[in-house]
């Protein structure tokens, strides 16, 4: 029988990926982790915030990037340009900016010996400068990080393999027109004993909905015509990828959900966009899938955007150690105008929280027993194609000589 979306290796073969089992070692090995630091994370773009976070000249933010053993300082200078630096004083290596964010700064003064830098990273003051023999201030500016902005998301990289625009060009076309400039209405964070790829994998497939989320969101994302929560479509753009998640049209709304939807947004329910064109939004459902719920756009290596009608969520998976990931999720929606909006948003926040408890629990359970099966494999089905693709991309980068 020919492979179809509901049978065989439809996506996997279309994307030219193999069916082989995937070795487990990269998901716990310290050696592999070190190579991921050098070959993957130093060569890739990671998101450190939104442009709105530093909207005005003099605004800045600081972001720890554990796998790079680095702290990034991101500034907006009077020329309105966004710049990023290693947050390290060039004198004795202390952190230049100690607070997570701030406003109206014209310079950063290291609190160790008082060396000062401006928003361009230039060294502008050295106390008792004459005792440093002919110091060349230009040689001691803050060390820059590559920095760019994509759809309002600020990205940095130590040594990017490609320019930011090129890296995310295809995803950019996919989400073109979507309004990302929304406030964060809720966010969660956790330290989880799990490899970042184990973590990401749990958020780039819907196969687990039927089992893990049996009592929470299964009726929403699996139905009689799609009992295994098959993806409605999937796309691969070099290192990045995008999947679309099915929404069950027969899903019976319960009172709280009906209320949430009536008042604003229920991320568990998507109206039929064909029938209700007014609700459709640019940058969503790229293949016009029937019974579409939301898209997951995965921006290599460690971020994804879950995007639906009237909401999106940004997830970031920050590797700390081979078995430790710092996790962040932010929910973006329009600022609540009335009590109804606030209550509607509460529904979405509460729903996500319960689902995350289930996911994170499973990630730690998975990691706990991986090492004992060092000789073992992961087996990815066709609808886990994004997990397989992630492994392929990472292992290719890790194994390149350079």
């Amino acid at each position: 029988m020919k492979a179809s979306k509901d049978h065989g290796n439809f996506f996997t073969s279309n994307f030219g990926l193999s069916n082989d089992p995937i070795p487990i070692e990269p998901y716990f090995s310290s050696e592999w982790f070190k190579r991921e630091r050098e070959k993957v994370f130093k060569r890739s773009w990671v998101c450190v915030g939104r442009e709105e976070n530093i909207g005005e000249p003099g605004d800045y933010l600081v972001r720890d990037i554990p796998i790079l053993n680095a702290s990034a300082l991101v500034t907006r200078a009077a020329d309105r340009k966004v710049r990023a630096f290693y947050n390290v004083c060039q004198h004795r290596g202390n952190l230049v900016a100690q607070t997570a964010c701030g406003h109206k700064r014209s310079r950063f003064t290291c609190n160790f010996h008082g060396w000062s830098y401006d928003l361009h990273g230039r060294l502008v003051q050295v106390p008792d400068e004459k005792v440093f023999y002919n110091i060349d201030r230009d040689q001691h500016a803050l060390k820059p990080l590559h920095c760019g902005v994509w759809n309002g998301f600020i990205f940095v990289s130590p040594d990017p393999a490609r320019p930011l625009e090129e890296e995310f060009a295809d995803l950019g076309k996919l989400v073109d027109g979507y309004d990302f400039a929304l406030p964060v209405v809720g966010s969660y964070t956790a330290e989880v004993k799990g490899n970042w790829k184990v973590f990401l994998d749990a958020f780039q497939e819907a196969y687990h909905v039927i089992a893990l989320h049996a009592t929470t969101v299964r009726p929403t994302f699996a139905g009689s015509d799609n009992p295994f929560a098959h993806l409605t479509s999937a796309r691969i753009f070099d290192r990045n990828r995008s999947i679309s998640v099915y929404g069950n049209p027969d899903h019976r709304m319960r009172p709280s959900e009906t209320l949430a939807f009536k008042l604003g947004v229920a991320s568990t329910y998507t109206p039929d966009m064909e029938k209700n064109a007014a609700l459709s939004a640019a940058g969503l459902n790229p293949e016009g899938d029937k019974n579409w719920a939301f898209d997951i756009n995965i921006m290599f290596p460690n971020m994804e955007l879950l995007m639906g009608v009237g909401w999106y969520a940004q997830m970031q998976f920050w590797p700390v150690a081979p078995d430790h990931t710092h996790y962040e999720v932010r929910i973006y929606m329009k600022a609540p105008r009335d009590a109804g909006d606030a209550i509607s948003q509460e529904f979405n926040k509460v729903m996500l929280y319960d689902v995350l408890l289930e996911d994170l629990y499973t990630i730690e359970n998975t990691q706990a027993v991986l090492k004992a099966r060092a000789d073992g494999n992961f087996i990815f089905g066709d609808h886990e194609v994004a997990c397989r693709h992630n492994y392929e991309v990472v292992s290719q980068m890790v194994e390149t000589r350079s």
Partner: protein, 414 residues
């Protein structure tokens, strides 16, 4: 006085090196050679009485979580608790009872009670999936006197019977293990190497100092305390009658190839004054007759107090009467951290008096364990300082030396 060293002359005298008690490298070799491929005690058959009963065991030293389950056919089987699909823990609870099959909570892969994969949701979307090759990864599993042992090698180099050996088997033959119930479990995690911890339970020398209050009802300890106080005052020790049975000495020691047995002196009741609570316990404790003492004091020591049986690499049985015993497990967490499990097994008490007596033994042992543990962490904290280059072990501590030598032999084996 050299009671034992002259018997076991092939054990090297001198200090035991200290590096193996903190080295990461040594610990990695222990993981490979002392724990992987060896028989490890993980529980009792009573825990798994019916088909479908299982318990989970998180074993950091194997970097795994392992579960043991009784199948439909009554057989015990052990598995790595990791789904063959994406590796999630298949059984999440610490113990329980299963029906005919069990399902991984992540994506719903289902296994039967023999560990075979029987159902894969949405199987059509997997290519080249052979369910018959995707049963849970098994470990070897067998029992001795009702104790369940596992071995990471599914086809171990030696049987459990051969591993235990005739000598050790004979030590406890006839002991009524089967009639006992688990009355209490203590667990403690501490910052000490697992060998250092286990060795504290293979010598009685420390009793005079560490347990001077808790085991004070043993005559010698109070005698030692009288001498210590005199020394603190700068006085000569008072004249006391010579004690023929020092409670901090072993009355006999038997070192086997890998395991060992030790017997501790006990004092006849009439020799020491009992405080009221202990006296009460002594009166109401089940009083077995001499003939019930099968599997105890097999060496027939005079003034016998208790037996300690240490099974390589990390299990000990502490046996005092036919009515209760303790099983201790010394599990490494990493090179400098361990977890000790103490399981207190007893004959079900028939009267309130028996219950009280058991309660006393149990509580007393808990305090003793707390004293042991308190002494170990500060010592471990100094191991890397260079202040100590080796551990001095006395003739009385020969089981601890043997314990180290056996482990070291495995670590160095090709």
């Amino acid at each position: 006085m050299r009671l034992f060293s002259d018997t076991y002359t092939d054990l090297k005298p001198g200090t035991v090196p200290i590096e193996p008690y903190y080295s990461e490298d040594y610990y990695r070799r222990e993981q490979q050679r002392v724990f992987r491929g060896q028989w490890l005690m993980v529980g009792r058959v009573e825990q798994l009485a019916q088909p479908g009963d299982y318990f989970n065991k998180d074993l950091a030293v194997l970097e795994s979580s392992v579960f043991v389950m009784r199948g439909d056919d009554g057989k015990l089987r052990a598995f790595h608790n990791s789904c063959r699909h994406r590796g999630n823990r298949v059984l999440a609870k610490s113990c329980g009872k299963l029906g005919k099959a069990f399902t991984c909570g992540f994506h719903g892969w289902t296994y039967d009670l023999s560990g075979s994969l029987i159902r894969v949701p949405d199987e059509e979307c997997f290519t080249d999936l052979h369910k018959d090759e995707l049963g849970l990864r098994g470990l070897a599993c067998d029992t001795w006197n009702g104790f369940i042992f596992i071995n990471t090698d599914p086809r171990p180099r030696e049987s459990l019977t051969a591993f235990i050996g005739k000598e050790m088997d004979a030590q406890v033959a006839g002991f009524p293990f089967a009639g006992m119930e688990l009355a209490a479990t203590y667990e403690v995690e501490l910052g000490a190497n697992w060998k250092f911890l286990a060795e504290a339970y293979q010598e009685a020398y420390h009793v005079i100092a560490v347990h001077k209050d808790t085991v004070a009802d043993r005559g010698t300890v109070s005698r030692w305390e009288v001498e210590r106080r005199a020394a603190l005052r700068g006085e000569a020790p008072p004249a006391l009658p010579d004690d023929p049975t020092p409670g901090h000495h072993f009355s006999s020691v038997r070192l086997f190839d890998r395991h060992r047995s030790m017997s501790v002196f006990g004092k006849p009741k009439s020799d020491h004054q009992l405080p009221p609570a202990i006296d009460l316990c002594a009166r109401f404790a089940p009083s077995p007759t001499r003939s019930d003492y099968g599997g105890l004091n097999t060496h027939k020591d005079a003034s016998w107090g208790a037996d300690l049986h240490f099974l390589f690499p990390n299990t000990e049985l502490l046996m005092v009467t036919p009515t209760w015993y303790l099983q201790l497990g010394f599990w490494p967490v990493n090179a400098q951290r361990s977890r000790m499990e103490v399981n207190f097994y007893r004959q079900p008490p028939r009267t309130a008096g028996e219950l009280l007596a058991m309660e006393y033994f149990e509580a007393n042992f808990r305090d003793i364990v707390r004293e042991d543990v308190a002494a170990l962490e500060p010592a471990q904290a100094m191991f890397r300082s260079g202040a100590t280059s080796g551990l001095w072990l006395s003739d009385q501590e020969i089981p601890a030396r043997h314990s180290f030598e056996v482990i070291d032999r495995h670590v160095r084996a090709d």
